[in-house]
């Protein structure tokens, strides 16, 4: 799947979620996100696990959001209202959790417009050098321990930080030379194996936009079911077109990423 398709999906889903506090819209949105996560998350990469972290954050946000209201005057309406606002935040988190679990980070960086090329390249470098840096930290800590210096003591932190930074600076010098010698900054660029907008990717983006359009036009038209009043508390109503729109965001789960 093209990373742009996933980005469209997440932005549309996230925006749709911010437009409503109706649990009958929010829960299908969250469920769609879960289905997409289950179908497409990357199993080979730790970021594939981030969905769980996001889910925990979502639960925490819901709890904190509901409890915050206890600081003011309390009645059933305020508590419910605040619970639903918390739910909105939680669903947004779940949608982006799914996005992080399905999209390839290097692919996301390749979405950067051409004028952002250098900044995106720097971020890609940071991404690919990070494991090397983490390994360097372990190596330096061991090396210092082997001469009797325990870097865990904060006074000895320079014994850990300085070699890691100095080695990094030497790497930066080599890297810059190598980039320069391979034509970095010549001003003309082409792209090797550009990511294809496959039929599945186009479909994913289109259904996401359709779902958002449904929510946005309802918001503009002042649809009362989007933000149901809890004063007095009442069972919220839902309209089927918006229910369908929320469920539409689950459709990418059925698409084969490669088709």
């Amino acid at each position: 799947m093209h990373p742009g398709a996933w980005l469209t999906w997440a932005l549309c889903g996230g925006t749709a979620a911010t437009l409503t506090t109706n649990p009958f819209y929010l829960l299908p949105l969250g469920a769609s996100a879960w289905v997409v996560y289950a179908a497409h998350h990357r199993r080979d990469h730790p970021a594939g696990l981030s969905f769980r972290v996001f889910f925990l954050f979502a639960l925490a946000a819901l709890a904190v959001r509901t409890l915050l209201v206890l600081l003011g005057p309390v009645d059933a309406g305020t508590v419910l209202n605040s619970f639903l606002e918390g739910l909105r935040l939680a669903v947004m988190l779940v949608i982006f959790g799914a996005f992080n679990a399905v999209a390839d980070p290097y692919g996301v960086l390749r979405l950067a417009p051409r004028r952002f090329y250098e900044a995106a390249l720097a971020a890609a470098l940071a991404l690919s050098l990070a494991p090397r840096t983490i390994a360097a930290v372990t190596r330096v800590r061991d090396a210092q321990r082997a001469r009797g210096i325990e870097v865990a003591r904060y006074r000895m932190l320079p014994a850990l930080a300085v070699p890691v930074l100095e080695n990094g600076m030497e790497d930066a010098l080599t890297l810059a030379e190598s980039m320069d010698a391979r034509g970095h900054g010549r001003g003309r660029r082409s792209r090797y194996r550009p990511l294809p907008w496959t039929r599945a990717s186009v479909l994913c983006a289109v259904v996401s936009l359709v779902a958002l359009t449904a929510f946005a036009s309802a918001a503009v038209a002042g649809d009362p079911t989007l933000v149901p009043s809890m004063f007095p508390p009442s069972w919220p109503e839902a309209r089927s077109p918006l229910l369908a729109a929320a469920s539409l965001l689950a459709l990418p789960a059925l698409l084969r990423a490669s088709s």
Binding site: S128, A136, R145, G148, I149, T174, D180, G183, R193
Partner: protein
């Protein structure tokens, strides 16, 4: 037509008073394998970087004269404008990679040049085939072996269309197999494709046989000549060339094969017994020590004794368990089975034993050599500076020193713990012969003072000259153990050049030269 021409080149680095190279005139024809050699700090790296304009455009400094590569003048072409005529491969390819996947890394240079995507695709495939990398195309450049990394770096530098390849110490960081693969690939470029290869190296025994031209960089100048007239210099050449020079062989051999022809004419003499002081008390021992992690057995029931006065070499291919064994001996990890004992108890890191890691830079964090030694708890700074021959350098910043000097500083900082057993992990990677000599000298001093040294290495010539005992590891087990002449003498892979010329029992040129006199 010449590939690279230097005409009256003088170059001074910024903030330096004296030029590193002055009035250099040099001409390298197309389609040769040129080997650049010379002592550390003489300007080999500078010379290589002149070819594509990294010097002076990247380095800054003052430049006079001119350099032409494939017809382009580096005064008017910046390095990035030379990308399609000169491929530059730095010493540590691991830190030169820009992207993550092998295939993308190879395409990166062409993307910068705006090459059409379909041309790029074809060219990447050609490069993958040329360097035998097709099976690695989707792998991360961080997750492949050293030799593979070096080949990816060469492919990535060549991909934009260059026909001149400039390499800074292409094999110094590699194990023997990786080095072999890289040199074979470079030779193919010269023989089959008519490209020009310019490579700087310290360790000449592997690469000497490949060179068509040697360039000696020394004393601020450089000259190109036939390899044997330059490699015959005693302090510079591979062991066979030193032998040939001492024994008056002509023409001077630069490979084992050439040397054997000369040696065949000599009547065989029995090798003299090598006189080694008998080892003293046991300082530490491993008893049935095993170490496994993640279901993989890295060390498998190893028994080993280290005695006072010994210099023990650990050898074996990459992944055989050398580093893990050193970590066990150093008390950095505890064996999952069996035990490691020093004085009847588990070794105390920094007290009974100290370990100098594979990247000596990992320990350097102070701003002068003296401070660096003082940072080690309990250091007797002056004694250690003297033992490692660092007294003259004590005021300098460790990071301003050469790779060899840095290693000595790191080893000294580690040895300053006063621990009787010193462990060194691949101490000679990237060292020039002079730094190697100094390291061997301090190892000997340490051993004769009642300590012991254990070092892991691929460098057979170092083992031949410095080790009192060799332990050969394979798949975590000890497969051979004994004196260097026993273990290396009948090895197909690990025999030093002198052994290959004269047979088992002969280890170093010095031994041969002494027996002739």
């Amino acid at each position: 037509m010449s590939a690279v021409v230097l005409d009256r080149v003088t170059f001074t680095y910024p903030e330096r008073d004296r030029p590193v190279l002055s009035d250099v005139r040099l001409e390298l024809p197309e389609g040769v394998f040129a080997l650049v050699c010379g002592p550390t700090g003489a300007g080999k790296s500078t010379l290589l970087r002149l070819a594509n304009g990294l010097v002076p455009h990247f380095s800054g400094g003052t430049f006079a004269g001119r350099v032409m590569a494939a017809g382009r003048d580096t005064r008017s072409c910046k390095p990035r404008e030379m990308a399609d005529v000169v491929a530059f491969v730095p010493q540590d390819p691991g830190s030169s990679f820009v992207l993550d996947r092998v295939e993308d890394e190879i395409a990166y240079g062409m993307e910068n040049l705006g090459v059409q995507p379909r041309h790029m695709r074809r060219r990447v495939e050609e490069m993958l085939d040329l360097f035998g990398l097709a099976s690695l195309r989707d792998r991360s450049v961080r997750a492949i072996s050293g030799g593979e990394r070096q080949r990816v770096a060469i492919a990535a530098a060549l991909a934009p269309g260059a026909r001149i390849v400039v390499l800074d110490e292409p094999t110094s960081q590699l194990d023997p197999q990786g080095a072999e693969d890289v040199l074979a690939a470079l030779q193919r470029l010269v023989h089959d494709h008519g490209m020009t290869v310019v490579a700087a190296e310290h360790r000449l025994e592997r690469i000497a046989g490949f060179a068509d031209v040697a360039v000696l960089v020394e004393g601020g100048t450089a000259r190109a000549d036939e390899p044997r007239s330059i490699l015959g210099r005693v302090d510079l050449g591979p062991p066979v060339a030193r032998l040939g020079a001492a024994l008056g062989w002509s023409p001077l051999p630069v490979t084992v094969r050439e040397a054997r022809r000369h040696a065949a004419a000599r009547p065989p003499v029995a090798p003299p017994a090598i006189d080694r002081p008998s080892p003293g008390d046991v300082l530490m021992r491993a008893e049935g020590a095993s170490y496994s992690y993640g279901g993989r057995v890295a060390i498998d029931r190893v028994d080993l004794e280290v005695r006072a006065g010994e210099a023990v070499a650990l050898m074996g291919r990459n992944g055989a368990g050398k580093t893990t064994l050193l970590r066990l001996l150093g008390g950095m990890t505890t064996p999952t089975e069996g035990r490691v004992l020093s004085d009847g108890a588990a070794p105390r890191t920094g007290r009974d034993v100290a370990l100098c890691p594979q990247e000596p830079e990992s320990v350097l964090f102070r701003s002068s050599v003296r401070e660096e030694i003082e940072a080690t708890p309990g250091a007797q700074t002056d004694r250690v500076l003297d033992e490692f021959g660092l007294t003259d350098l004590s005021a300098l910043h460790p990071r301003d020193l050469s790779a060899g000097q840095r290693l000595l500083v790191a080893a000294a900082a580690v040895a300053a713990t006063g621990a009787p057993v010193l462990l060194l992990d691949e101490p000679t990677r990237g060292l020039d012969p002079e730094a190697k000599e100094r390291l061997v000298a301090s190892m000997r001093r340490r051993a004769s003072a009642g300590g012991a040294v254990v070092f892991a290495t691929h460098d057979v010539e170092l083992v031949a000259s410095a080790a009192t005992r060799v332990v050969m590891l394979a798949a975590g087990q000890v497969v051979a153990e004994g004196s260097p002449e026993e273990v290396l003498g009948d090895s197909a892979v690990f025999a030093p050049q002198t052994t290959r010329v004269f047979g088992p029992g002969w280890l170093t040129p010095d031994q041969v030269i002494a027996s002739v006199r």
